[in-house]
Amino acid sequence: MTVPVTPTVEWINQCYDHEGRHEHVSLYLLRAPEGTVLVDSGSFYHREEITAAVEEATGGDGPDAIVLSHSDYPHAANVSPLGGDTEDVELVASSASPAQQGLPDARKCDIGGSLTIQGREFSFIDPPLADRSHTTWIYDHGDGVLFTADGFGNYHDPGQCEYLSGDFADATPAEAVYEYHRDNLVWLRYVAPEKVERTLDDIFAEFDVRAVAPIHGNPIEAADLDVYRDRLGDAMCRIADEYAVA
């Protein structure tokens, strides 16, 4: 079961329970001109659900390509079960040293560069919000979707697992954006928010972003992007303000 985000991008949403609050650990399926492309492969924790969902969505064929935002286990743990270790499935990763990241057979994408995968153009963006250094944000030139890996996430309540941002009463709740980034991008306690904002402005000026697709949050629709970014900016300020060097 997938959730449509844009005409050719579908969300395979999986959740991890934090004592009643949920965190998405998702992946996305793109229907490109020459085949299907997965962005990330999800966690081993959801392996059965993910392989079943991909099987159903691809009519039993599986993906034609897998593009990884980075090699962290919640993102890259199902490469083999989804065929990414075979010649039939093209595997693309941004790591500079695939063998050290456990992905010795990956085709390398350069951060700052572009690749055509299954007939679809993707750009690989140096992310201002990430944890691991080898992370890339992935921009899909087809539908204008920006896949933001660990950035732009949020927690959510049970029952909101399949929500797009517009399904919330007033877009993605500010508190959920704050709590997610506080817990998962710990370095934000030292952030100078205006520096991140400048880089985000540059990215959104260069790329026509029509939806943001985080791995750890509800997808953000075009109409809600400004609201989300305002809340993200407030969250960064709050996280920094709340941490004082003892």
Binding site: F44, S95, A96, D131, S133, V186, W187, V245
Partner: protein, 268 residues
């Protein structure tokens, strides 16, 4: 082949790929670089032998599975490995966890108590350690600490009390030339060039470009006061066994330098 830093603490080294071309070192030719040489940012694991019990801190990457298993055998022999402590679940640090536990079923897994995604990393089993937790190995006692400068939220730092060694994981890493593998910093030719630290932190702890300089440097002052180590053993650099706190102080200049220049580049 591991190198003993002080009696009972062994340094296990993995070079990783040559960074010369991808970091344009030949073109930029920084002061510390010698044309024609290869340059590396290693992965390091450390084995602490306390006489009674043994502990391995980190695992090297999946590219070095055989090497880390061989090193463990060489260092602990028939005594076995008592503890495997994983600093954080990043693949180059924890990528051989399952292989080591399969080879050494007697080993107790020690994982960070910080963060909230342990099941997603196979780290829900074993001991979870946070600030001040200790493991007594006999002649050596290791103590765990909240990781200050980190990438994954599920992270922990470690110290060894007797030798006053700080293991700051990703922090204080730096690039080095090929023949400097497993050399102590005090064994390098000439004066240590802090731009080596800038090359690493400007790319690998990429978020240094987005931080408040004064706040971050106040944190470094706090770390110097808190730990005051004799030895610094980073996961991605060479071991510092002389003037360790001076090198920690140097990190404040690294912060300022990264703040004052254009983006250095990516890891690639």
């Amino acid at each position: 082949m591991p190198r003993e830093i002080v009696p009972g603490i062994h340094w296990i080294y993995e070079a990783g790929p040559d960074r010369t071309e991808s970091w344009d070192l030949a073109d930029r030719n920084p002061d510390w670089y010698e044309p024609g040489r290869e340059a590396y940012v290693p992965q390091c694991a450390y084995l602490v032998d306390g006489g009674e019990e043994t502990l391995l801190f980190d695992t090297l990457s999946p590219a070095s599975t055989e090497e880390i298993l061989t090193a463990i055998d060489e260092l602990v022999g028939e005594r076995g490995l008592d503890y495997l402590a994983v600093s954080h679940p990043d693949v180059p640090h924890a990528g051989n966890t399952l292989a080591i536990l399969e080879e050494h079923p007697e080993t107790t897994l020690v994982a960070p108590g910080y963060g909230n995604d342990h099941e997603l990393y196979h780290l829900d089993d074993g001991i979870h350690v946070t600030e001040g937790d200790e493991i007594d190995l006999g002649d050596r006692v290791v103590e765990f600490h909240e990781a200050t400068f980190l990438d994954a939220p599920v992270s922990v730092w470690m110290t060894e009390r007797e030798t006053e060694t700080l293991f700051p994981v990703d922090w204080m890493g730096f690039i080095h030339l090929d023949e400097e593998k497993l050399a102590f910093v005090d064994e390098l030719d000439g004066e240590f060039d802090p731009s080596r630290l800038v090359e690493f932190h400007g790319r690998v702890l990429f978020w240094y470009q987005y931080i408040d300089v004064e706040k971050t440097n106040a944190e470094i002052d706090r770390l110097v006061e808190k730990f005051d180590p004799e030895i610094v053993a980073p996961a991605h650099g060479l071991v510092i066994r002389e003037d360790a706190t001076d090198y920690m102080e140097t990190m404040k200049d690294v912060t300022r330098t990264i703040d004052g220049q254009e983006r250095i580049g990516t890891l690639g």
